[in-house]
Amino acid sequence: MKLQFSPADEQFRAEIAAWLADNLVGEFAQLKFRGGPGDEHMFPEERKKWERKLAEGGWTCVGWPKEHGGRGLSIEQQVIFFEEYARAGAPGRMGHIGDGLAGPTIIAFGSDEQKKKYLPGILSGTEFWCQGYSEPGAGSDLANVKTKARLDEASGKWIINGQKVWTSLAHESEYCFVIARTDPESKAHKGLGFFLIKMDQPGVTVRPIEQITGTSEFNEVFFDDAQCDAGDIVGEPGEGWKVAMGLLGYERGVSTLGQQMAFQNELNEVVALAKRNGAAKDPVIRQRIADAHIGLKIMRYNSMRMLSGNSGDGSLQKEALIYKLYWATWHRDLGELAMDILGAEADILLDAPYELNRLQSLFLFTRSDTIYGGTNQIQRNIIAERGLGMPKELRP
């Protein structure tokens, strides 16, 4: 076991830190610490411009292989990149769905034509993506999607009909990757396709969902005879589930270290508040703050284990299986702690009609953490079934 990074990696750290210090200035200075969870709806145009700035420096898609235009960074260097990015307070990535999910999927499962068509826009920070998975009737039971795709013989195009929901930043995206049923008679995981769909077309309607924060970064997306080219299906019809689940394999937790740096910024704010308003003298609050600090430290150690471990067969290891449940619960607790440190002041807004301060926003937004991307309950099923070999849920 070895905790330190190599001298070459530390030099790389200095390089990215210096680049960020040189470039996160001027018009971009206002974006510092903005656009993260709960704040994703803010400064979209400015953050898109920042994406192009990143691209100029070669700092988009840093984990993609070089042959596909990425930087081909090692796991260690990706960790360093995300850490320094968050440490500098660089804004929430508008491009993270394309960079972290759509791109890697296209690289792994896509055709050469798809790679040529879609990867350059992601790399250059000019085209943004959203994820069309959940539907009103397909939440935890994701495989229950009802959105349909049929190949129209006359036009040679796929015609998509249905509704997606909880689609982050759909209103800011050029493309959406969508799982839809290619075989209308099929059920569950079978008969699905994975489609790349242009958002700017008559058949696509985006309607924002107002959240408990009063803001909207999630949307409903309606497909009414929306179209995509015959070549815009990734994999074969019927392979959609395999492609969609393939994404999970890429999320090996590298970006989570960056996420943790953002958590650290939040925790620092909570600690500073407690010192300022005297709550830091309360023995119960002290315990809770220490617990949060300890929880975040261990989250980092756990990620380091995830990244160092190599199960060989690509299957998720135990420390990776628990990760979502762990961080989501930790983050939710931090939001509650922040309110309890504020005390009565927790209820007082910055301004009417509903302007939340950062900690209030944290408190409300973190309630979504234990729901999206697999609820805590679904996570526990997955852990018990895959991690402990306990019986699978009965499927009627």
């Binding site: 070895k2 905790l3 300890i294 150690y301 160092s308 420390e319 628990i322």
Partner: protein, 384 residues
């Protein structure tokens, strides 16, 4: 960065696991529990002569293997997993560490080779409080020419009734806090030392009370200089804390495995109870706590490694130890409690092993500081 066991470390861990699986069976544990000594001397000797575990992190110049704390933790985790009854924690994680950190060259040269050959030792410092630092030291010494005269009492001395050597912390008469702390090493049968076994709820580990009455020790028994050992003591305790946390993480793994196996074989309502979400979700939370505990312990092990070899991360030892112990203490007991509940009635019996882990979890939760104690240590650095 490579935060995973090396192949060699994995081999050490796997060897420990397979040895202890055979050697520390339920029957063996219960036989040790029923004995006065609290462990099997034969097994202790085998551990020494066949496994070399007492020698693991002792430098080669004293006849040891010269390995690090990560290797030690790998073995301790398996000891906790198989609930080994032995004076290993006392001898290796407390006394050996004390000698390595504070001992003079003469003391190390004389005693470490004996420990490698199977002699036992322990550390007495706590006068009977829930403090786990120099503040816990109530026994005192006064100097009389070339000797020191010690008086006072200790509780919670692991294997204190049977250890061959004692490392003793005492404070200069009238001193408080970190001032005036000295460490001494002596044979446990020296005149002036009275040792008595304390009967324990967790019978898998022995504790003793020790009373010093005008114990006279020569200067050669002092570890380092008089009155300056508080820092060394806190480092020794931090290292012991990491070791205990490693045991706790191992215990958590075993109790989870035992419980999941049980729920897969126990049928009610026409199916294995492992299929019910009420059970699955408890088990999932247990596994989460296991993995998190392990991450904290491995990190602390790396830091302890640095602390022993004056590496760049040595200053992190106190925090890393507190992080590991505060997490593992609550998590182990929580898991053991859940395990008992998931076993239902049989979990409440003497026959099943669940209660052995349940009791060990509670005892080790409080020894060397419980979660609240360690969180406050962290809070102090963060907030004051």
């Amino acid at each position: 960065m490579e935060f995973a066991f090396t192949q060699e470390q994995e081999m050490i861990r796997d060897t420990a696991a397979s040895f202890l699986k055979d050697a520390s069976t339920s029957a063996a544990i219960r036989s040790a529990m029923a004995s006065d000594l609290g462990y099997s001397p034969d097994l202790w000797q085998r551990i020494c002569t066949d496994m070399y575990w007492q020698a693991l992190h002792i430098p080669e110049e004293y006849g040891g293997m010269g390995l690090g704390y990560v290797e030690l933790v790998a073995v301790l985790e398996q000891m906790g997993r198989y609930l080994l009854c032995s004076p290993y924690l006392a001898t290796v994680a407390m006394a050996t560490n004390a000698l390595l950190i504070a001992g003079t060259d003469d003391q190390k040269t004389e005693i470490l080779p004996q420990l490698i050959e199977g002699k036992t030792a322990t550390l007495a410092f706590n006068g009977g409080s829930n403090l786990w630092s120099a503040d816990a030291v109530t026994a005192s010494y006064k100097r009389d020419g070339d000797t020191a005269i010690l008086n006072g009492q200790y509780r919670y001395v692991l294997d204190g009734h049977s250890a061959d050597y004692l490392i003793i912390a005492a404070r200069e008469e009238g001193s408080i806090g970190a001032e005036g702390i000295s460490l001494f090493v002596c044979a446990a049968d020296t005149d002036g030392i009275k040792r008595s076994l304390l009967p324990t709820m967790d019978q898998s580990r022995r504790q003793a009370a020790i009373e010093l009455t005008d114990l006279r020790l020569p200067t050669e028994s002092v570890m380092g200089d008089f009155g300056t050992a508080a820092k060394a003591l806190s480092k020794i305790l931090d290292l012991a804390t990491v070791a205990l946390a490693a045991e706790q993480a191992g215990g958590m793994q075993q109790i989870l495995d035992i419980t999941v196996d049980y729920t897969k074989s126990r049928n009610q309502f026409g199916r294995a109870i492992a299929g019910f979400q009420a059970i699955k979700h408890k088990a999932a939370d247990m596994m989460l706590r296991n993995e998190v505990a392990r991450s904290a312990v491995y990190y602390a092990a790396c830091i302890a490694d640095d602390a022993l070899s004056a590496g760049p991360l040595a200053d992190e030892l106190a925090e890393a130890a507190s992080i590991a112990k505060s997490y593992c203490s609550e998590a182990y007991f929580k898991n053991a409690g859940e395990a008992l509940q998931m076993h239902g009635g049989v979990g409440f019996t003497w026959e099943y092993d669940v209660h052995l882990y349940f009791k060990r979890a509670k005892a080790s939760e409080h020894f060397l500081g419980n979660s609240v104690y360690h969180r406050e240590r962290v809070a102090g650095v963060l907030l004051d």
